[in-house]
Amino acid sequence: MNNDLNEHELENLLRGLAPAAASPALRQRVDEELKLDMSWLSTSRRKPQHAPRWIVSAGWAAMGAAAAIAVMSQLPQQSGTGAAHALASASTVLPASTIREWDDSTGSGIHHGRSRQVEKHALVISRELGTWVDPLYSAQTTAEIPSRQQLLLPVSFRQ
C-alpha cells in the first residue's frame, strides 16, 4: 500500500495548520500608528466608484432633482425659518447652478404659418449644465444634459 500523501491530502494537511497569532504588541503598535494620522477615517466613508461615469452623473442629477422638488414642495407651507429648516433637512445634495449653452442653431427662413402669422422655425442644439453640491462632504458634481429643440419663433415687421 502506498503510504505517501497525495497532493490533495498534503494541501489539506498544510491548510489545516493555523498560522500562529500575531503578538498583542503588534496590534497595539498598529493601533497607535493609525491613531497618529486619522485622515483615513474621513476617506473610509467613501465607497469605491466602480460605476461608469454617466451612471454616477445621472444618479447625482436625479438626487439633485429630487432634492429640488422636495425643497420646492415645502416652501409655500413653511414660514421663513421653517423653509430654511426644510432646506437643511430635506437632503444633503443641493442644486447650485444651471447653465444652458447653445452649441448650434439652424434656421429655416421666414414663412407664413397656418394662422397666417409670419414665423421662423429654428433647431437649437444645446447642453444644460446642472451643478449640485453636497455640503456634508464638500462634494460637487456637474451633470451635462444635451438637448435638441425645434423652436417656432413669431416674427413681426415694423409697419
Binding site: L5, L14, R15, A20, A21, R27, L34, D37, T43
Partner: protein
C-alpha cells in the same frame, strides 16, 4: 467611529497569515511583525474599506517592506532594544496547532524551512494567504508558469518529507485490518 473598529476585525483575520508570510522573508518573528505593522498601516490608510479584492496588495506591501528591511537590519536592532516583542524570540513557532497537531506542525515547519525561499514563498501565499497563482505572479513579477512550477516542486519536496505522516494524520491503516468478526473465518485448509 465604526470604521475604527473595522481595521481591528480585518487585522485579526489577516495578521497571522501576514506574519507567517513575512517570516519566510526575514529572519525572525520580531522582524516579521515589524514588516506587517508597516505594511498593514500603509495598506489600511490607502484602502480603509478593507475590501478583500485589495488583499493581494497587502501581501505585496509585506514583500516590498520585508525585502527592504532585509537590506537594513540595523533598524531591527534598535527596535528590539526598546520593545517587548523581542521576547517572542527567534524560534517562536510559526503555527498555532491543536494539541493533536503539535508534532505535525513541528515537522511541517522544519520541512518548510528546508525549501528554497522562492518555493516557500509561493506555498505560503497559496495555502495560507489564499492567493491565486495569477495574483502571486503579479506581485512577485514572475510568470504564472514559473509560480505554478515552484508550487509543484515545493509540494513534491514536502511530500517526500511528510509522506510518512499519512497514516497518523488521515487514519489510514498501515497493517492488515483488524478482524471485527466475532469468530475467525474457517480455514480453507481444514475443509480440504
Amino acid at each position: 467611529m465604526e470604521a475604527a473598529f473595522d481595521w481591528k476585525r480585518t487585522f485579526e483575520q489577516l495578521a497571522p497569515q501576514l506574519v507567517l508570510y513575512a517570516r519566510q522573508l526575514v529572519d525572525s518573528k520580531a522582524d516579521a511583525e515589524d514588516v506587517v505593522q508597516q505594511a498593514f498601516v500603509r495598506w489600511w490608510r490607502r484602502f480603509p474599506e478593507g475590501d478583500s479584492s485589495h488583499i493581494p496588495l497587502l501581501y505585496a506591501a509585506v514583500r516590498t517592506i520585508a525585502l527592504d528591511q532585509r537590506r537594513s537590519d540595523h533598524r531591527r536592532v534598535n527596535r528590539e532594544a526598546k520593545s517587548d516583542i523581542a521576547v517572542t524570540g527567534e524560534d517562536a513557532p510559526a503555527f498555532d496547532p491543536q494539541p493533536e497537531q503539535k508534532e505535525t506542525a513541528a515537522i511541517v515547519e522544519k520541512a518548510l524551512q528546508a525549501l528554497p525561499e522562492d518555493q516557500r514563498e509561493v506555498v505560503t501565499l497559496k495555502l495560507w494567504g489564499d492567493l491565486t497563482f495569477n495574483e502571486i505572479a503579479a506581485m512577485t513579477g514572475t510568470s504564472i508558469n514559473t509560480i505554478a512550477g515552484r508550487y509543484r516542486y515545493a509540494l513534491q519536496a514536502l511530500q517526500k518529507k511528510l509522506g510518512h505522516l499519512r497514516a497518523d494524520l488521515l487514519g489510514e491503516p498501515t497493517s492488515s485490518p483488524v478482524n471485527i468478526l466475532p469468530f475467525s473465518p474457517p480455514h480453507t485448509e481444514a475443509l480440504s
